[in-house]
Amino acid sequence: MLRFLLRRLALAILVCLTVLVVSFTLTRLSGDLAVAIAGPNATAEDVAIIRKNYGLDRPLTVQFVDWAVHAAEGDLGRSYQYRAPVADLIRDRLPVTLILGLTGLVIALLTAIPLGVLAATREGTLLDRGIMLVALLGQAMPSFWLGLVLIIWFGLKLQWLPISGVDTWQGYILPGIVLAFSAIPALMRLTRAGMVDALASDYIRTARAKGLSLASIVLKHALRNAAMPVVSIAAVQLGFMLGGSIVIETIFALHGIGYLAWESILKSDFPVVQSVVLLLALIYIALTLLADAMNAVLDPRLRAV
């Protein structure tokens, strides 16, 4: 077990380093970054000045080492657009994205798990088919389009919920629902599959032979075992949702890091872009490690040395 954890940790560190390289090289793809920053109307002189000011005239390896060393110290460089430290920008924007991601995850889990359990306990019935059909429909729904439809419908026709910004907590509801939508089908299928397996298992027969109540059989005995893979996938999904929130933040005008990244891409503000890529990757890696740890806690067979 310890060996396994150490291997996972080593892999995670290696991946972190690679991501560092990737996010750095990503922004150098265009060839000459200075030209991109300067924009189409700049003169050759402007470009030369920019190149010198941003240190882009140094060899790539020097630039990378310089950036990586600073990044490790928490200094992610300065935004060209905002003329402020990238770390400060991210610190201001990150809470919005995190709250949005967690809202989405909570909505997704609160929808997917009960529906998956219900479908499994009614396996093969019309209800089961209906629920699986919803999963299929949800999977095919383009999330940005769903966001727009919800804005038209809720925000304008019904006027129940705010459709942009997060001045109040209600502002998180619609974007949270849209974000949850992308994770619900997978979580629901997984819950259902796990529950179908668990309900057919010998220990459920034992639980029934012991005369336990239906609630105890389904929720305590079956769901506990079916939940283990769901927990790992939920952590991974949260990572995907934080990465995917860029679309939803732009639609609902939420000023999180996704919105920040989108603005920065449009304005060639590459220190911000590469920092957000790095940050999201690190969060994802941390979440997968967390999922492993949670599974070790949930599954007594893994807990043992």
Binding site: A209, K210, G211, S213, L214, S216, H221, D299, P300, A304
Partner: protein, 323 residues
């Protein structure tokens, strides 16, 4: 004396398969009754039908299905669950998978008491520890805190037995409880069941395919074939005068020291248990039976060797002596 369990003409269908076709059983207090037969003959289905644990889609019918003064055929799932684990207990063949891997032994035992008895946690734990001791588990306090994967198969089956006995059941159904275990562990578990049955005055319905276990454990035996009890008798009478051709075939498959001749091959029954569709008439064994005749395709009579020894066959009681 009224029996603990009385079953009359029990029928179970799974879609187009008639798994149990008119089984009748009576088990008295303190009696151990063995249900014996090849796999697929409907022994386990009979037990699950009594417990109300049949898979969804199964249809159960019976003229009488009575446990003490409870008419089981009239009880809904809620009512059944009140009896199960309390007065009516069952253990299974697969000790390795029959315990929930996610919970400790203690948790899985005390939840039974929490369900059926109004007692506090400490008393429940003490009761669980007491029963673990009773089934021969040393250091019960330690075991209560352990998880199933930390226990061997034999220990897990002991835990299953202890759990089944928590609420002083009157009937214990044991479905092939030792089949998955090593031979030495098998003997220990059987001895344990025997002792507990004597001490607690349990009625035991033991399901097995092993005639050696029958000889050792049973007072009464019902031989099942293709969803029917083809012969039922006290254990001594059955071994002394097996009358149904299938029972005779089964007995010829076991070597008995001193009686079987070395130069003759051990008997075996050719063929396998057929799948019976609803509406099937006649003897289910006729395709494999050496004595089969045309009348075997018609209704088969129940005949008696003695008051307590019945069998389901056209052949007259003394046929085997003449053969």
């Amino acid at each position: 004396m009224s029996p603990v369990l009385e079953v009359s003409n029990l029928r179970v269908r799974f879609g187009q398969t008639a798994a149990v076709r008119g089984v009748s059983l009576r088990i008295q207090r303190g009696e151990s009754h063995c249900l014996v037969g090849e796999s697929g003959c409907g022994k386990s289905v009979t037990a699950l039908a009594v417990m109300g644990l049949l898979a969804r889609g199964a249809e159960r019918q019976a003229d009488v299905l009575r446990f003490h003064d409870h008419d089981l055929s009239q009880l809904n799932e809620r009512g059944m669950s009140r009896l199960r684990g309390d007065k009516l207990a069952m253990i299974f063949q697969e000790p390795m998978t029959s315990l929930n891997p996610a919970y400790t032994i203690g948790s899985q035992m005390t939840e039974v008491l929490a369900r059926h008895r109004r007692i506090d946690r400490r008393a429940a734990r003490e009761r669980a520890a007491e029963l673990l001791g009773r089934v021969g588990i040393t250091a019960p306090g330690l075991r209560l805190g352990q998880y199933p994967h930390q226990l061997s198969g034999g220990l897990r089956q002991r835990v299953m037995i202890a759990t089944a006995l928590l609420c002083d059941p009157e009937l214990l159904i044991a479905d092939e409880p030792t089949t998955a275990l090593d031979v030495t562990v098998q003997a220990q578990i059987l001895r344990l069941l025997q002792r507990l049955q004597r001490e607690l005055g349990l009625a035991l319905l033991l399901i097995t395919h092993d005639l050696g276990i029958v000889a050792r454990m049973a007072q009464r035996v019902s031989v099942m074939y293709a969803g029917q009890v083809v012969e039922s008798a006290p254990v001594k009478a059955l071994f002394a005068a097996p009358t149904h051709p299938y029972t005779r075939g089964l007995l010829e498959c076991i070597p008995v020291p001193g009686t079987s001749r070395r130069d003759l091959p051990l008997g075996s029954i050719p063929g396998t248990v057929p799948r019976i569709a609803p509406g099937f008439v006649g003897c289910g064994f006729r395709d494999r039976c050496a004595q089969a005749a045309e009348v075997c395709a018609g209704t088969v009579p129940t005949q008696r060797m003695a008051d307590d020894h019945a069998y389901l066959c056209r052949l007259a009681p003394g046929w085997s002596a003449a053969a």
